[in-house]
């Protein structure tokens, strides 16, 4: 497609209590843009996590992030060792970034 840049898309799910740790890694890798969705639930190795349960606070957060190949490599190698403490999941896929005036990648 015209006016697009090939990029990598990261989709990360961690517990809300790990979000700070995650954003520190993102900052360290000099990522320039990401999107966070809170109040997320799910099933994983730690069992069901339901953000609507008022007695047991278990909330996930989903982070979507697009960046260029080179930075993606860097990020993946930073994230992999950290996954032990973070839990959750990290998916990587290909995408195109539709070019506009803002450059936050």
């Amino acid at each position: 497609m015209n006016n697009t840049i090939a990029m990598k898309r990261f989709e990360i799910v961690v517990g809300i209590e790990q979000l700070e740790q995650l954003t520190e890694i993102l900052e360290k890798t000099s990522v320039r843009g990401y999107t966070t969705i809170k109040n997320v639930g799910g099933l994983g190795s730690r069992g069901v996590r339901d953000p609507d349960d008022v007695l047991m606070e278990q909330e996930n957060v989903l982070v979507v992030l697009a960046c260029q190949e080179e930075q993606a490599q860097k990020l993946a190698s930073e994230l992999r060792p950290a996954l032990k403490g973070l839990g959750g999941m990290c998916l990587i896929s290909d995408c195109l970034w539709l070019q506009g005036p803002a450059v936050s990648y």
Binding site: D52, V54, L55, M56, E57
Partner: protein, 318 residues
């Protein structure tokens, strides 16, 4: 015999709504707002009536009762571990819940006393606020002693306990209530924190009924033992609390409230703390027992019984 408080039927209404699968839902923000309100209001009320005492005089007694409350989890643990066959982690975590307290159960006890016009010591609320500390610490030690695994995050745990919302707001309420009592400016604040207390409690109990209903399945899975424990243990702990209250020379009302504190069981502060201190314990089990069995038992049956106990002990005194 004293009549059952209308307010506790809101709990029944909540349970029933859960059982018949009504679409009734309490918005999460309302639930959380009401928790904050109740904590501040309970503290405030206690603080206002503490303004009538010499604090320094009562402090040693109050602290003794706090420290002695560590006996509650220490008693619960072997029963859970060896009779109930729970894992060390679960037995320790449940002990911490039963050693800790439920501010709502305490509130129902206070409402009971005020409906029969019985006074009580204002500093009971301070005891309640502080009782979490020995219970959670003891429960954690029991759950982890010699267990290996990851190191207990004591720093993190103590921070969680000491800065946790429930302890913090109770203390804030006490301090501001105490100040308001001293400077005689209780008035416009009491319109909210005292007059509306029972109405908010009604709503809160409705939600707690819904929550209890949603936990019944977890309780059933463990069967008879957890039901028996959830009823017999608070009775014993309540008896012990009453005995201590009487020994320490509390009023009849205060004696009964100490019984309620020892008998009651946490389902808010303790789960949050245990998640950090004993992550391998199953929170469903302790919350189920606490909210599904002990809480309803205490507000319907326990409170009047603890009152009879208090009267019995004070009868001896005479």
């Amino acid at each position: 015999m004293a009549t059952i408080q209308p307010v506790v039927f809101f709990f029944v209404a909540g349970v029933l709504a859960g059982v018949i699968k009504s679409d009734l839902k309490i918005p999460e923000a309302l639930y959380k707002s009401m928790s904050l309100f109740l904590l501040i209001a309970i503290g405030f009320k206690g603080g206002v009536s503490m303004a009538k005492y010499e604090i320094m005089e009562v402090l040693p007694i109050a602290l003794s009762m706090v420290v002695l409350s560590a006996l509650v989890p220490l008693t619960a643990y072997p029963i859970l571990r060896f009779v109930g066959k729970f894992t060390q982690a679960d037995a320790g975590a449940i002990s911490a819940h039963y050693g800790s307290v439920s501010a709502v159960t305490f509130a129902v006890g206070v409402a009971f006393l005020s409906s029969i016009d019985q006074p009580s010591e204002g500093y009971m609320v301070l005891i309640m606020a502080l009782m979490e500390i020995p219970a959670l610490v003891t429960g954690t030690v029991l759950a982890r002693a010699g267990a290996g695994g990851e190191k207990t995050q004591w720093g993190h745990l103590m921070h969680e306990i000491l800065t946790g919302t429930s302890l913090y707001l109770l203390v804030v309420g006490v301090l501001i209530g105490y100040y308001a009592g001293i400077v005689k400016l209780v008035s416009p604040l009491d319109k909210m924190f005292m007059d509306l207390f029972m109405g908010v409690l009604a709503f809160f109990l409705l939600e707690m009924g819904l929550l209890a209903a949603s936990r019944l399945k977890a309780v059933m899975s463990k069967g008879l033992f957890i039901v028996a424990f959830g009823i017999l243990f608070p009775l014993t702990a309540g008896l012990f609390g009453n005995y201590l209250g009487w020994i320490f020379g509390l009023s009849e009302g205060g004696t009964m409230l100490l019984g309620v504190l020892y008998a009651s069981c946490s389902y808010i502060a303790a789960p949050a703390a245990m998640r950090i201190a004993v992550p391998d314990a199953d929170p469903a089990m302790s919350i189920g027992a606490s909210l599904g069995v002990t809480f309803p038992f205490n507000i319907f049956v326990g409170v009047p019984i603890y009152w009879e106990m208090a009267k019995y002990f004070h009868g001896i005194a005479v």
